[in-house]
């Protein structure tokens, strides 16, 4: 059974291949059948393999598709490593990916690039699967760049509009900054271990380095650079809100559920190295905490429905990073999974709303959709509740609560992380319900022109179910005490130790978290349902702050100021400045050489023979001098 592992990434690839080669000739019905079907089959295989994996209670499974090269010690293979961690990831990727494919079949039906869309999407799924299944870092990097490329292609999918192309380039370039750091990190790893096999590195690292070793720290920070870029964390988070230029299913799949969590995966995968570098861990935690708060406040002020969700994604990934930073590995992965469900749900629902309202993105022009779009409303409500972590009934509560608890009680936790996380939770709850109230309550402002059909509703319902039920597989100590998920992951990711004196107060923390979430909902209702004029007052009284948050804490402006402007300035003060001269010089030099050498290529036979004679004389003289 497990020998079929290769099928999981191969099926989407085959789908993409068929669509690329025959796309234009396929009938409109066949395109989604191939596109969604291949991912669906892949999900099916994942389920079968997962069942097999669990029922035989294997620790891990290795499958070498083929040895790529084996030259001078470097021997990267197309080899897959399946363990609980990658199993959870491939499950989420294929399953959520499949639902999003089904949704897209209807959502994209009127688009000209129908086949192209599915081809890219399939290619993305394939790359993402390779990324998480890779047993060595070369293959992982291959998948890493593959998803980056697909993300670029899909953000710029509607390439006729210039700003979409701009957003695509921005995403590509900003993540590239992180990728470069990561590539350097990989080279350093190879230099230290003479292998890039992840398992071997994990096994050797504790022997090679002592805890706190400088090399480990540098490598960990470089890997973190890659993770931060891909996962849109501080300070490389600016590309994600703009990436919303892509179609909504793309945002759901790539920029919420899967690709942006690749950074989380990378850190979890290489956690051995991070554990050897406590400072790097701390940095991860700080980045996570800072990101979740900053992005949360930015989300509070957005008008654009999708941008709220984008900031919320950044913020939620901040929670995951925070969890990673305190060593709560399985909590991070748990939150990843739950987040994938409810964020995909929210994006898809948002996409349906936007589609229903003629591509209207502005929440203030929506409203009163509760009656018109009941299915969307209810599913959106479930997703929002999960995002806001409303207690007991939502999955988000269980995953976020675990993180909150461990930031305080985990052995690396501290009160500051906890307070930040709590603040984040409060803000999350406010902006989530602000979004819900603005969109679905109040008066109807834009006419509904398109009611989504079954193809879009079913994925929403399935995801809504998952957003509720998936939380019950991991219940806290204080009630239920169920640890299916963390037990499952325990062979790969060590459990976090809890400081003893906190154990007794776990119920209190939960109570606080629940209270914070509910009060957030109340605040949102206060401002946007009961007394809408209050929000305007607040907005005008703190206009600067609003603007600051609205612009995502001014990061784009800051970067514009720090990097882009000086760059443009340097380039423009003087077009012949030294750097330009240098490159011009290179070009001129190349041209000069070209002309000199071209001159020798005169076409005259005797001249050529002369060249040979000169060469002969040079060789003879060389021999005479050195002989």
């Amino acid at each position: 059974m497990k020998e079929l592992l290769w099928l999981i990434p191969f099926l989407p690839f085959a789908g993409a291949f068929i669509l690329i080669t025959t796309g234009s000739r396929l009938s409109k019905k066949m395109v989604p059948v191939i596109g969604a079907g291949s991912v669906g089959l892949s999900a099916l295989v994942t389920l079968l393999i997962g069942y097999n994996f669990i029922s035989t209670s294997s620790a891990s499974f290795h499958f070498t598709a083929w040895q790529w090269i084996d030259i001078a010690g470097l021997s990267p293979a197309f080899a897959f490593h399946l363990d609980p961690l990658s199993l959870i990831f491939i499950f989420v990727i294929t399953f959520v990916g499949f639902l999003i494919h089904i949704y897209s079949a209807e959502f994209m039906a009127d688009d000209d690039g129908y086949a192209r869309f599915f081809a890219y999407l399939n290619l993305f799924v394939c790359s993402m699967l390779i990324l998480v299944l890779a047993d060595n870092l070369v293959l992982l990097y291959f998948g890493w760049e593959g998803v980056g490329l697909c993300s670029y292609l899909l953000i710029g999918f509607w390439y006729t509009e210039e700003k979409n192309g701009y957003a695509a380039r921005k995403a590509f370039i900003v993540t590239r900054v992180g990728d470069t750091a990561m590539a350097i990190g990989l080279f350093m790893l190879f230099q230290n271990f003479h292998t890039l096999n992840i398992q071997e590195i994990a096994a050797q690292a504790p022997q090679l380095w002592v805890t706190g070793s400088n090399t480990a720290l540098i490598i960990a920070l470089l890997l973190l650079g890659g993770a931060v870029g891909k996962s849109a964390q501080l300070p490389l988070q600016t590309w994600l809100p703009d990436a919303m230029a892509g179609p909504s299913p793309v945002s759901a799949l790539i920029h919420a559920a899967t690709m942006v969590t690749a950074g989380v995966y990378l850190i979890a995968r290489t956690h051995v190295i991070f554990e050897l570098a406590p400072i790097a861990m701390l940095v991860v935690g700080i980045i996570g905490a800072a990101t979740l708060v900053i992005a949360g406040f930015a989300a509070l002020t957005q008008f654009d429905l999708k941008r709220v969700l984008a900031y919320s994604t950044i913020s939620q990934i901040g929670y995951m990073f925070l969890a990673l930073g305190v060593g709560a590995w399985s909590a991070a992965i748990f939150h990843f999974m739950i987040h994938a469900f409810f964020k995909a749900l929210l994006f898809l629902a948002a996409g349906a709303v936007i589609m229903a309202l003629h591509h209207e993105h502005d929440m203030f022009k929506m409203g009163g959709l509760k009656k018109k779009l009941p299915v969307i409303y209810w599913t959106f409500l479930i997703g929002a509740a999960s995002l806001a972590a409303l207690p007991i009934v939502t999955a988000g509560f269980y995953s976020k609560d675990q993180i909150l608890w461990l930031t305080l009680a985990g052995e690396n936790g501290n009160i500051w992380f906890f307070l930040m996380a709590l603040l984040g939770a409060f803000v999350t709850s406010i902006y989530t319900f602000r979004m819900l109230f603005l969109t679905f309550f109040g008066k109807e402002k834009t006419h509904v022109s398109h009611v989504p059909g079954r193809g879009m509703n079913i994925p929403l319902l399935v995801l809504a179910g998952l957003s509720t039920l998936a939380g019950f597989i991991e219940l806290p100590h204080s009630f239920g005490h169920l640890t299916i998920f963390s037990d499952f992951l325990s062979p790969v990711l060590p459990a976090v130790k809890v400081q003893e004196d906190f154990e007794s107060i776990e119920w209190m923390i939960q109570l606080i978290a629940a209270g914070v979430a509910i009060s957030g909902v109340y605040v949102a209702q206060m401002f946007y349902v009961i007394k809408p004029e209050l929000s305007d007052e607040l907005k005008s009284s703190a206009a600067d702050l609003h603007k600051f948050w609205f612009s995502g804490w001014g990061f784009d402006g800051l970067y514009n100021f720090l990097f882009v402007r000086p760059f443009v300035f340097l380039a423009s003060i003087n077009k012949n400045d030294i750097i330009d001269k240098f490159y011009d010089g290179l070009v001129a030099l190349a041209n000069l050489f070209n002309r000199i050498f071209s001159f020798t290529q005169s076409g005259i036979l005797r001249w050529y023979i002369m060249g040979i004679v000169i060469g002969g004389i040079l060789l003879l003289s060389l021999g005479l001098i050195n002989g």
């Binding site: 290529q601 076409g603 005259i604 036979l605 005797r606 023979i609 004679v613």
Partner: protein
Amino acid sequence: MNEVQTVSGLLLAGILFVLGLVGVLIRRNIIFMLVSVEIMLNAAGLAFIVAGSKWAEPDGQVMFIFILTMAASEVSVGLALILQIYHQLKTLDGDAANKMRG
């Protein structure tokens, strides 16, 4: 009867070789170039014979025979080609054949 030093033989071969080389370089007529190349090949053959005589082995002369074979084929193909070129370009000027350059 043979007291000739190998060095003298090789020197003679070297001089003839360079003379042939000069011929290739200064003549524009393709036939002359071909003839000059023949002189060089012949000089190389001489060098082989000298070397063979030095070691009292037949290998030098064997090689000379192979060179002879090669020179003969070379000349026949070369002359056929020259005939062709003369028909195309109406000249034997080696420098005139410079349609291709750069």
